[in-house]
């Protein structure tokens, strides 16, 4: 009986399996659909069509927020919120504009140094949250201020430089595929997918779903939380590096960090990740980020004053979140509203 059910699955069972898998990806699919619709309109209204250079520019802009949103996804999945992702993004940008310079070896060491600093910032967040038994939102509000202060110390005035060849490589496109998209895919394949399928990644979902039950099930709660924040720091640092390549300089602008932090939360939500934790995916967040960035492009092609961008981003955010709650219309037991 056991063997039979393991090998030859009846048709109804396998259809049920697909239904469950599809349901689990609903948030991601919704974000993909919204992005595809918006980008199609953008391409259609664009006079020259979707040329490689237009796609490249859009990708570079979107990839920055997409990386920060991926970073934000991990703390959100464990039921927390990381308000320091924007500061780590700015700090690593300022650091990169100092140390990712010189010959190939120096540049490579610089890149490693920048990523290591991001990782350490994340580990510090995680350790304080876990061993201080504090709420992530307040811990990262404080550490975020510290990280931004360090960025200002590193670069009081905008400036600095970066290895030109590397920057050029990372901002152009190959056979129509922008480097920034390749970088995103690499982050998904090398960081997100292994994480998602690791024991500690599974533990992160478990913690977000019910921390008490996770502890009772013998899940390594402390390690999983620290890793989630650490990877958030690392992904923010990758974004900070990319920003340096895009701008060829570093700048400690307070508005930039705050903007990326808040937009990353929006992107995470559009991407179908629950702010209560336990369900969602960094891939959804990537598309969520692209949705938010495409709003700006659409304003341009429709000849609307770009100053109004926040207004439209807000509307898109409300719209996307409302789509996610459409299922509540089918509820017939009021108690289900509160589950």
């Amino acid at each position: 009986m056991t063997a039979a059910s393991a090998t030859a699955e009846p048709k109804g069972r396998s259809r049920e399996a697909w239904r469950h898998r599809l349901a689990a990806q609903r948030g991601v699919l919704l974000a993909v659909a919204i992005f595809a619709a918006m980008f199609a309109i953008y391409g259609w209204k664009q006079e020259v069509g979707l040329t490689a250079s237009i796609i490249n520019t859009a990708a570079n802009k979107g990839a920055l927020l997409a990386l920060v949103a991926m970073a934000q996804t991990l703390p959100v999945l464990i039921g927390g919120l990381d308000l320091s992702v924007g500061s780590v993004f700015v700090l690593t940008n300022c650091l990169a504009s100092n140390i990712v310079v010189g010959g190939p070896l120096m540049t490579a060491l610089g890149v490693v140094g920048v990523l290591a600093v991001g990782l350490v910032c994340g580990v510090i967040n995680g350790v304080i949250v876990v061993y201080g038994r504090l709420q992530p939102i307040i811990v990262t509000l404080a550490t975020g201020a510290v990280y931004f202060g360090l960025a200002l110390a590193l670069r009081p005035e905008p400036g600095g430089s970066v290895n030109f060849e590397l920057a050029d490589l990372m901002t152009r496109s190959f056979y129509g595929v922008p480097s920034s998209v390749i970088l995103l895919v690499a982050a998904v394949v090398l960081i997100w997918i292994p994480y998602r399928r690791s024991v500690l990644g599974r533990a992160a979902y478990a913690i977000g779903s019910s921390e008490q039950a996770a502890f009772m099930s013998g899940v390594p709660v402390a390690r999983a939380k620290i890793l989630a924040f650490a990877l958030a720091g690392l992904l923010s640092a990758i974004a900070g590096l990319l920003l340096t390549f895009v701008t060829y300089s570093g700048a400690a602008k307070a508005a930039l960090g705050a903007d990326y932090t808040l937009n990353s939360i929006g992107a995470v939500v559009i991407g179908g990740t629950s702010l209560f934790g336990g369900s969602g995916s960094a891939i959804g967040s990537i598309f969520g980020a692209f949705v938010m960035r495409t709003v700006g492009d659409l304003l341009i092609v429709f000849d609307i004053n770009p100053v109004l961008q926040p207004l439209f981003v807000g509307i898109v955010l409300l719209f996307a979140v409302s789509l996610g709650s459409l299922r509540l219309l089918h509820i017939r037991n009021r108690l289900d509203l509160y589950r």
Binding site: M1, T2, S5, A6, R13, E16, A17, H20, R21, A23, A24, P194, R197, S198, V199, R202, Y205, A206, G208, S209, S210, Q212, A213, A214, F215, M216, S217, G218, V219, P220, S274, G278, S279, I331, R332, N333, R334, L335, R339
Partner: protein, 518 residues
């Protein structure tokens, strides 16, 4: 039985205090391979604390634990897991957003190249589910979408998937359907034959009589006695548990027959295929039981009457006047006067972090307020009255309700609604997971309220309760009332037969449940 061989697990001199409260004092316990050992005691007797110590959830203040001849101490649940101890907790330890397979394999998922092997994990989950006889559960389904009884089966499968030497079940059958209980019992007997030690906690005496080889009784955090099952009468065991004479559990039914017009009259109530034309009448002074197998619409009826369901059809009359029950807020209003004691007290009944006082006044707070300002004095007086009436343990009134034992928590839920002075009281399985002493108090309370003129609808999964407490029992099947039992016809045999929708009752109860429902 425990003569020559050394026990697999031995605990001695175990003490545990929470703040100033003594949970366990010099407790001991021992269990053998290949046996099922029942732990008995009222809620708050120390069983759960003992189990938490074995499972590594809390450390003991003092005492020794000897496993397989070696002294051990567990710093965390995972350490206890590694030593071969698996627990099925009363409060489910499942992760609602994760799939069934993820949950079953959570402690030690199968890996390939360092990453979780989803295919192997799925196989493992299917095997574990088949082992407990729950092949109907799909391994890819999110646990949060499953009904409570299925979740409980997943929880048991999860414990088994760890290949334990000692399996602990803490009230694991309280949420199961009768058919599942039969499957679980069969599985436990297999495990016993395979040499596992099973520690079994349940408040259902007939389960223990059927299953356990040995029983250990605790009272007030102290060890009382260990004996082989069958050597003591039920009465004697209950006396050991409550430490006082065990008189009649159920209060006598009222002398005078309730008559006159019904206070609550329901006709043709239907909802979403789960309720199919329910008709019923309840008079003031009556306790009307809802019987039948689990999940035949009894809970939905109570929720529907209380205004929690959308799209219900049919008519509800109170005192002969038709009413529309659109929300719990309307249902509790003075002209309706309804109260619902919910099934899931932790989520639907209580605000766990808030104090007992605050919890008690939630439902009735409008009554003590003028222009939105709460009259604190009137509120205090009403709270004190309810606390006295229900004998809620008074040392925790200003502490969080989460700190109370299950029995006392349930009293708070009931007290909260008594403060609204309800005329129609709906009880959804109120004694689940509650100790004998508190149960007895609740039975008495129900009768007192009925004699005070309240109309009571009482759903219970425990047939003894329905027989002992109710003036009439309406048996549900397929979302409607199929039979009404009262007087001498109200007995276990008829209840079981009616629950299975059989017209004649010509077989033994439990055996019939096993064959017909599986």
């Amino acid at each position: 039985m425990d003569g020559g061989s050394t026990p697999l697990l031995r605990m001695e001199g175990i003490s545990k205090h929470y703040g100033g409260v003594r949970a366990l004092e010099d407790a001991r316990f021992a269990c053998d391979r290949g046996s099922i050992h029942a732990l008995l005691g009222e809620n708050g007797a120390g069983k759960s604390t003992l189990i938490k110590i074995v499972a590594g959830v809390v450390p003991p203040d003092s005492g020794t634990i000897i496993l397989d001849g070696q002294p051990v101490s567990f710093a965390s649940p995972s350490a206890a897991n590694d030593a071969g101890i698996a627990c099925v907790f009363q409060e489910l330890s499942l992760l609602p957003d994760l799939t069934v397979a993820d949950n079953i394999a959570i402690t030690n998922p199968p890996k390939r190249f360092g990453l979780i092997d989803n295919r192997a994990q799925r196989r493992l989950a299917e095997q574990a589910l088949a082992r407990v006889g729950a092949e109907d559960i799909h391994p890819d389904a999110p646990v949060g979408d499953l009904p409570l009884s299925r979740r409980q089966m997943v929880e048991i499968a999860k414990a088994l998937a760890r290949d334990p030497k000692i399996l602990i079940l803490d009230e694991a059958t309280s949420a199961l359907t009768a058919a599942d209980v039969v499957k679980v019992f069969k599985m436990l007997k297999h495990l016993k034959a395979d040499g596992l030690a099973v520690i079994y906690i349940s408040h259902r005496m007939h389960e223990i009589a059927e299953l356990a080889d040995e029983c250990t009784v605790y009272r007030n955090g102290r060890y009382v006695a260990t004996f082989a099952t069958g050597t003591k009468s039920h009465g004697a065991i209950v006396e050991m548990m409550i430490g006082r004479e065990y008189s009649s559990v159920f209060p006598p039914l009222s002398e005078k027959k309730p008559d006159g017009p019904p206070m609550l009259s329901v006709r043709g109530l239907s909802w979403a295929g789960r309720l199919n034309g329910v008709d019923l009448d309840v008079r003031p002074g009556e306790v009307v039981g809802l019987g039948g197998l689990d999940g035949q619409g009894q809970s939905q009826l109570l929720l529907g009457l209380f205004g929690a369901l959308i799209g219900m059809t049919g008519t509800v009359e109170i005192d002969g006047k038709p009413v529309k029950l659109a929300s719990p807020q309307k249902a509790k209003a003075a002209e309706v006067g309804m109260a619902l004691i919910p099934e899931d007290r932790k989520n639907e009944g209580l605000m766990l972090p808030m104090t007992v006082r605050e919890n008690l006044s939630f439902a009735a707070v409008d009554g003590f307020s003028r222009f939105g300002i709460v009259n604190r004095k009137a509120e205090e007086a009403a709270i004190d009255e309810v606390i006295k009436l229900l004998q809620i343990r008074s040392d925790g009134i200003d502490g969080p309700v989460a700190a109370l034992s299950g029995g006392n928590q349930q009293k708070v839920v009931i007290g909260k609604w008594l403060m609204t002075k309800p005329r129609i009281i709906l009880l959804n399985d109120p004694t689940r997971g509650i100790d004998v002493g508190t149960k007895q108090e609740l039975y008495q309370l129900m009768r007192t309220l009925a004699e005070g003129g309240a109309a009571i609808l009482f759903y219970s999964t425990d047939y003894d309760e329905l027989i002992g407490c109710c003036d009439r029992v309406l048996v549900f099947y397929g979302g409607t009332v199929t039979r009404t039992l009262s007087g001498s016809a109200l007995n276990e045999r008829n209840l079981v037969a009616a629950a299975l929708n059989l017209s004649t009752a010509d077989a033994d109860g439990p055996a019939l449940v096993a064959t017909a429902a599986s």
